[in-house]
């Protein structure tokens, strides 16, 4: 034990290998299926093709749903930013007492799963003064709640790392108004962290299915809803879509990782 504290034995290596195979196998299968002409009764397909990807990009409904997903997620993240930035700033700097309330809000998405949230939203807004059920408005509102934990934690952490309180006090002491101090001192300092949480929120929303399908599934088709409808029709085409989607998310997370590392490096130096 003393000698092997930092060394992985055969058993550990084997275990990790098995875990990785288990985790990557479904992905690999989808990928192979997307490039296969036909894949039955052999370990690997006999003929490969790019036909499914071609078909995917010729499919107008795919392009439309991709576009819908992109702009819905962008609008939601933008609204979330506009609303959350001042709120988290005020709470972190002026009202630290509120943090316990915020912590409760942050775990709420766990306690209230998507299905439950959708039920409540449908009941609250399918009649009455604000009849927005089935429209993009209700979805954007629901998305706001979905990304709230990521946004809150991301913005709060950035504010704490740059010690926003003292920074603001210094700026005000030097004669800047509060708004000016916020816009020209705090914002430039926290924006890398804010960017990371925005990208993260974007990728979370891009993969959202429950709320989208239940709230506006009949009216608005996002990429996930479209994929769901495609699965039953053509397996190969659905694989091609799933892989494209996954590669997109992967690129996004790679970007996130790079940004995160850059920020850590910046703080160290």
């Amino acid at each position: 034990m003393e000698s092997g504290i930092k060394r992985a034995g055969i058993a550990h290596r084997l275990l990790m290998l098995l875990l990785m195979i288990y985790l990557l196998l479904p992905l690999l299968a989808t990928c192979i299926y997307a490039f296969a002409q036909e894949w039955q009764t052999t370990v690997l397909p006999e003929r490969w093709t790019l036909e499914w990807f071609g078909e995917m990009f010729r499919d107008l409904r795919f392009l439309e749903s991709l576009w819908t997903s992109l702009y819905l997620c962008l609008i939601s993240v933008a609204i979330s930013l506009i609303v959350m930035l001042p709120a988290v700033f005020v709470i972190t700097v002026y009202l630290p007492k509120w943090e316990s309330f915020m912590k409760g809000l942050v775990v709420l998405p766990y306690a209230v799963p998507g299905v439950v949230a959708a039920v409540g939203l449908i009941r609250a807004y399918s009649s009455g003064p604000l009849e927005i059920a089935g429209t993009a408005y209700i979805l954007i509102g629901a998305y706001f709640v979905v990304v709230l934990p990521y946004m809150y934690q991301g913005i709060r952490n950035s504010l704490l790392t740059v010690s926003a309180g003292p920074l603001l006090a210094a700026a005000e002491l030097l004669g800047a108004s509060r708004t000016r101090a916020f816009a020209s001192v705090i914002l430039p300092n926290i924006w890398p962290g804010v960017l990371v949480s925005s990208l993260l929120s974007f990728s979370v929303l891009f993969g959202e299915f429950v709320l989208t399908n239940m709230l506006v599934g009949g009216q608005i088709q996002t990429i996930q809803v479209y994929l769901y409808h495609r699965v039953g029709e053509s397996g190969h085409l659905a694989s091609a879509i799933a892989i494209t989607y996954f590669v997109f998310i992967l690129l996004l997370s790679a970007l996130l990782m790079k940004l995160g590392q850059k920020m850590n490096g910046g703080l160290k130096g």
Partner: protein
């Protein structure tokens, strides 16, 4: 002359008070303005988080006709074998997948700590990456692999192997398999920091004092880990109870699960009984709330434990990869 001397400090004091008051007033004014920043946020949270919950709660307590409070819908659910089965299935699948997820997560989290830092980061990154692969695409991938016309299913049939025996992707065993897939990375990510918290020095100290490996784990390791394990169990359970996309894409309405049942009651095309859906949703929310509460209690306990230990490995903590989202949902 004398009164004026007496008078002047009073004047300056008055002035000072006045200046202070003015300053406080200005500060108050600007702090009052600061509240404005909270208004849109509170409005959004109220509209899209609290009003729906309250509306759902009142909806589930409304009698089918007329006014007042009634537990009629809950009574109907508790008397219906169909809905009871859905609740039972959901509880069982969540419990089973969480237990397996925890077991695999524990072993793997321990194994991960034995690797050098670079490999460790990569392993965690990979498992993190696969957690993006959830919901509809995940269900679909499993259909390709193990569905009725799946690659493995056909291959094994051709080779005459019958290792799956009674395995059916579209039933209990298949659902557990797919659920475990999204539980394992989450368990690994949530448990890894606690394993990380068990420091080598503790082991060295214990072994210097003559403790065997087993004694170390029994008296130090397990008590330190147990809050994290139960807390993670709560999160995994809530995660599985609320999981909808995977089950919906995999079995549709063919397997009786609480989340899927709620979905079809509220927005399904066949039967539309939103009020019954409200009551079922409340039942589901109660179970997940309980699980999250367990996590909350356990987090408190482990915080107590860790603040009691004098020094944390601060320097190393920076080496920890920033997880995509610890405390984020796997399944959306």
């Amino acid at each position: 002359m004398v009164p004026s001397v007496k008078w002047s400090p009073a004047k300056t004091a008055n002035e000072a008070v006045e200046i202070k008051e003015r300053r406080v007033a200005r500060l108050k004014r600007s702090n009052r303005w600061v509240w404005l920043g909270l208004v849109p946020f509170l409005l959004m949270v109220l509209m899209f988080q609290f009003i729906p919950i309250v509306s759902m709660l009142t909806g589930s307590l409304k009698p089918a006709e007329g006014a007042g409070i009634s537990f009629g819908f809950y009574e109907r659910i508790l008397k219906s074998a169909y809905y009871l089965q859905a609740i039972k299935n959901s509880l069982l699948i969540s419990a089973a997948s969480s237990a397996i997820g925890i077991a695999v997560g524990l072993v793997c989290a321990y194994a991960v700590t034995r690797f050098p830092f670079k490999t460790r980061d990569r392993l965690l990154m990979l498992s993190n990456m696969t957690s993006n692969f959830a919901g509809v695409p995940l269900a679909f991938a499993y259909i390709i692999l193990l569905g009725s016309n799946g690659v493995f299913t056909l291959l094994f049939k051709q080779w005459g192997l019958d290792i799956f025996g009674g395995f059916d992707l579209y039933s209990w065993s298949g659902l557990v398999l797919v659920y475990v897939y999204f539980q394992v990375p989450l368990a690994l990510l949530l448990l890894y920091p606690s394993f990380y918290g068990i420091r080598d020095q503790w082991r060295e100290a214990a072994s210097l004092l003559g403790a065997s490996r087993w004694q170390f784990w029994a008296t130090i390791g397990v008590p330190v880990l147990s809050p994290a394990v139960f807390g993670t169990l709560g999160i995994l359970f809530a995660n599985a109870m609320g999981a909808y996309a995977t089950a919906y894409a995999l079995v549709g309405g063919n397997y009786n699960l609480l989340a899927v049942r709620i979905g079809s009651l509220v927005s399904g095309d066949v039967v539309n009984q939103p009020q019954l859906g409200n009551a079922l949703a409340i039942i589901l929310a109660l179970s997940t709330l309980l699980a999250v509460f367990l996590n909350h209690l356990m987090t408190k306990r482990s915080q107590l434990l860790h603040t009691a230990s004098p020094a944390k490995p601060v320097r190393r903590s920076r080496r920890m990869p920033v997880p995509r989202s610890v405390g984020a949902k796997e399944e959306l």
